[in-house]
């Protein structure tokens, strides 16, 4: 590091460089790109949850005005390889030793003989405009022979259940069981045992910008350029090249301005292969932007899980065993393997120490839209089960819920802490750092539990409750991310990385890191993220990983370039490199302030430097491979009041205490947490992607799929503690997902606490007024 710590930009709330363009309407999102002569795509999608296709007739569509091409399953089946999200479906060796089930179920590019969910692509029309493409879709004639559709996740596991995917042996896509100790014995001798079923309903990432891409073939070289909303451009590049048979070097994917992702744009869907294929096949640019109906019904869904959970504890509340059977509704195919089920499994116990655990996750197929990770990727669901169960245990034992948690937390002295389980990579799970008791203490103090209890006593007619949720998140998923740093001919510095932004502010945050590590001015740095042509390898922005992986790669590359700069400047200035410093991009000789060299001057002289290295520039590429996860954590505490007449839940106070290592930009970091909280509130309070019994989605527009609006998200009071991660030089941890993990459990705990006099059990969301009234009514009947 080149400058004094108190001058460092790391830790400062530098205003975002992104904002000016975006506020002027000068952002360039995928659908904003003007690519002359681009044709537009619409998809014919299955109207049936499960059926055989007995015929498809595309001839009328081909004859419609403005139609460029129509593709059905038969016309692409031999030309595009089926889709497998290979990275997600990979099972690491340690996990393989657990003998998991992880069925490879490639998604057909377009359905040929069978459809397995409503929304599955059946045919693709390419036309002069989206309007004309939709006109042509309407005249494609498909006949279906209905097959039994399996919608309910429990029914799908029955012995005699109909098959979701013909040709499979059963409806199990994923299964893994993992634990430690002797759980059954521990439960048999436990003083208190609670068993309950908690579930999380299906919901959708629903970024305001839907998924889309534009593909263009170079008429000279035949190479393809793809502008995309993806979170993982290198993966898109690799998959497109592989599936349509192009050399990977001839496919360039650029993630441009992206309007939110949250996981939905982090996995590949068949549309992302079909559109480049069409551009390649037709020699004409092709654009597809999902509409909201497609986004809600036919893009990835998430979150639907059932937890059959049992906790056992000593009389003093010390946890002795956790048993959980997690049922994950995968939708019609196993698209992303163990990612969500195993994430749920290995994050379930979270910050608590428990000697015995028996955790089983089953991913079940149903004739519903496939699912993907969504912000938290199994953690909000697992936290909902575990933290709801902790409240039940507290009630059973008559212990204040926060106190029960306190008694079971891993302490900072125990860090790094080995849980005795395997992490997602299949190696022993180790929490690198954290101070969970301090975090909880602050949350308890801020929400003021004694004051809430006093109010409950003083105002027995009101239904006020308090709830907590503690969680942790192993962030910074590997295996790597890269950064290429280069001094440009102007003397400005460019950073290229494979981890694009969907709103997280990478252009600002990574520039802060680079400014500090290189000693160049923040304003002289340009960050270009997510262009496969500018850095050959990358993973992307998913799983709370970008800051840890790309951030540290940036620091590494910045250090290397700084050394190159000083070496080159030593030649120009005829000085010793060790005597040179660089500040704000100006190189000077220690003790000789009159001698200065700017980066622009230096870079112009580098190629002609006598006795130079032969390199014509000042650039370095570095990849950071995290040795372990950086484990971030959080404590959410909330007080609510439930109006039993209206069923409305009002959040009176919401407190977040989070820990995410070194914070690079506090304002940006806090906003990431608050944004996650907003999504978590939407999930527990109103969002629900519902199907009817025939597998027809019944919340297919924003009239019925209830997104959170401003009035639903209260002011969030924040505090943080800092435990720099020892797993990386910057000491950072990921925090993109954490905010979304806590709210479902914390709010459900508070609501159940508030409605304890009514005997209400909260086992699932969403906690809409209508459902609260239903719960109150059924509690009254059973009392």
């Amino acid at each position: 590091m080149s400058t004094e710590p108190n001058d460092w930009l790391i830790g400062q709330s530098v205003p975002r460089v992104e904002d000016d363009r975006l506020l002027r309407g000068a952002g360039r999102y995928t659908d904003d790109l003007h690519v002359p002569d681009a044709a537009e795509v619409a998809f014919l999608r299955s109207t049936e949850a499960h059926a055989r296709i007995t015929s498809i007739d595309i001839s009328a569509a081909q004859a419609m005005p403005g139609v460029v091409a129509v593709y059905d399953g038969a016309s692409v089946v031999d030309r595009i390889k089926p889709l497998l999200n290979a990275e997600e479906l990979r099972v690491p060796p340690g996990i393989a030793d657990l003998d998991p089930v992880n069925k490879l179920q490639p998604a057909p590019i377009l359905a040929t003989d069978e459809v397995n969910y409503v929304g599955q692509p059946v045919a693709m029309v390419v036309a002069e405009t989206r309007y004309l493409a939709e006109d042509a879709i309407e005249v494609i004639d498909v006949t279906y022979e209905l097959l039994p559709a399996v919608i309910d996740v429990e029914a799908a596991q029955a012995e005699d259940a109909a098959l979701v995917l013909l040709g499979e042996d059963d409806n199990i896509g994923v299964h893994v069981r993992h634990g430690k100790g002797d759980t059954d014995a521990a439960l048999a001798s436990a003083a208190a045992v609670i068993t309950e079923t908690f579930s999380t309903q299906r919901y959708v990432c629903a970024p305001i910008e839907t998924r889309g891409l534009v593909a263009q073939q170079d008429p000279f070289t035949g190479s393809l350029t793809i502008w995309s909303t993806t979170q993982t451009p290198h993966r898109v590049r690799d998959h497109v090249a592989e599936s349509i048979g192009l050399p990977v070097d001839d496919v360039r994917v650029q993630s441009v301005d992206v309007g939110g992702g949250f996981g939905q744009k982090g996995i590949l869907v068949v549309e992302e292969l079909l559109v480049p294929f069409a551009a390649h096949d037709l020699g004409r640019p092709v654009r597809w932007i999902a509409d909201r109906f497609e986004n809600l019904t036919a893009d990835a869904h998430a979150r639907e899980q059932i937890h059959h959970i049992t906790l056992g504890a000593d009389a003093d509340g010390t946890l002795v065993a956790v048993k959980d059977h997690i049922i994950v509704n995968l939708g019609a195919r196993n698209m992303v393997g163990l990612v969500v089920p195993y994430n749920a499994l290995c994050h379930l116990i979270g910050p608590y120490q428990v000697a015995n655990a028996d955790l089983e996750a089953t991913g079940v197929l149903t004739n519903t839209t496939f699912t993907s990770p969504y912000r938290g990727a199994g953690r909000p669901e697992a936290t909902f089960a575990m933290e709801r169960a902790m409240d039940r245990l507290a009630a059973e034992l008559g212990i204040e819920p926060s106190e029960l948690r306190r008694r079971n937390l891993i302490t900072s002295e125990q860090m790094p802490y080995e849980t005795g389980l395997l992490d997602r990579r299949g190696v022993p799970q180790e929490y690198d750092s954290g101070d969970y008791p301090a975090m909880l203490d602050r949350a308890v103090e801020m929400i003021d539990v004694p004051a809430v209890r006093a109010r409950q006593a003083a105002e027995p007619d009101r239904r006020i409750g308090v709830g907590f949720a503690l969680y942790l998140e192993m962030t910074g998923l590997g295996p790597f991310e890269g950064a290429r740093v280069e001094v440009m001919p102007s003397g400005r510095v460019r950073l290229y990385t494979g981890a694009p932004s969907q709103g997280q502010g990478h252009r600002t945050v990574f520039a802060q890191i680079l400014a500090d590590t290189m000693g160049v001015a923040f304003d002289d740095i340009d960050v270009l993220a997510g262009d496969t042509a500018s850095i050959p390898y990358g993973v992307g922005t998913i799983a709370s990983r970008a800051l840890v992986t790309a951030g540290n790669a940036t620091a590494q590359a910045g250090e290397l370039v700084r050394e190159r700069i000083l070496d080159a400047a030593a030649g120009v200035l005829e000085a010793n490199a060790a005597d040179l410093t660089i500040e704000q991009g100006i190189i000077s000789v220690t003790g000789t302030p009159s001698v200065e060299l700017t980066l622009a001057e230096l870079i112009r002289s580098v190629p002609k430097l006598a006795g130079g290295s032969g390199s014509d520039g000042l650039g370095e590429t570095s990849y950071f491979q995290p040795p372990n996860y950086a484990t971030a954590s959080g404590a959410h505490a909330v007080t609510v009041e439930v109006d039993t007449a209206t069923g409305r839940v009002e959040i009176l106070d919401y407190v977040v205490v989070h820990e995410a290592g070194t914070i690079v930009n506090p304002v940006v970091a806090d906003a990431q947490v608050v944004g996650g909280v907003g999504q978590g509130i939407g999930g527990i309070m109103s969002e629900h992607l519902r199907y009817d019994e025939n597998g027809q989605p019944i919340t297919s527009t924003f009239s019925d799929y209830l997104m959170p609006i401003s009035e639903m998200v209260p002011e969030i009071r924040m505090d943080e503690i800092v435990c720099p991660s020892p797993t990386n030089p910057l000491g950072v941890k990921g925090l993109g997902e954490g905010g979304a993990v806590g709210p479902p459990a914390a709010i459900a705990n508070a609501v159940e606490d508030a409605l304890r006099p009514e005997g209400v059990s909260v086992r699932s969301g969403p906690l809409t007024p209508g459902r609260i009234l239903d719960m109150l009514r059924s509690a009254a009947v059973s009392q």
Partner: protein
């Protein structure tokens, strides 16, 4: 701003064509359009004013909010043919290239009221409309008006907290709303 030269309908388009003239961001535009063309698509793809975004095409999300004759409207629920003779203002019509941001735009920057930026033009146009309305009326907006304004668009990134702060700054209201530990039951009618 450079002259806006709209491109026309594709030759294959089967619906009737119309010639419309209107002003957008102070500039007169005459264009040939087809009957069914949505105003959003006209602005974005024919005039290339891509700052107006499309999020749902059913009037729910607010990303496409623009001003029509000075009033905020959803441009996804308007046919281009319907704006003949009218006056339109989009996000591009607030601060010109190189000009200082407007007070509303600046408030969003100051309060970190945007992340991905996709919903932002809609919010900015809604808040701008309320600010102009309150200036025209010579009174501060009511809390109900502010709430209706910030409730009128979806944001998936920010959790709204900083959007509310930005709106309040732009509207000349105290930015921080103190957390009241009492419920609003009985105060807010449904």
């Amino acid at each position: 701003m450079s002259d806006l030269e709209p491109s026309g309908p594709p030759t294959a388009e089967p619906t009737a064509r119309h010639t419309i003239s209107f002003t957008v961001n102070g500039e007169s535009v005459t264009a040939e359009i087809e009957s069914r063309l949505l105003l959003t698509d006209f602005l974005r793809h024919r005039l290339r004013l891509t700052g107006t975004h499309v999020g749902c095409e059913q009037g729910a999300c607010g990303a496409c909010t623009i001003q029509l004759d000075g009033q905020p409207v959803r441009s996804c629920l308007i046919l281009a043919a319907q704006v003949d003779g009218r006056d339109i203002r989009t996000i591009e019509g607030l601060a010109g290239p190189g000009d200082e941001l407007t007070a509303v735009q600046q408030a969003f920057a100051d309060q970190h009221g945007l992340q991905c930026g996709f919903c932002t033009p809609g919010f900015v146009m809604s808040v701008t409309s309320l600010r102009e309305q309150s200036q025209a009326n010579g009174r501060a907006p009511t809390e109900a008006e502010v709430q209706d304004c910030v409730d009128s668009s979806y944001c998936r990134c920010t959790g709204y907290v900083n959007i509310r702060k930005a709106a309040r700054q732009a509207l000349g209201l105290p930015i921080d709303v103190p957390v009241s530990l009492d419920s609003s039951s009985g105060q807010v009618s449904e």
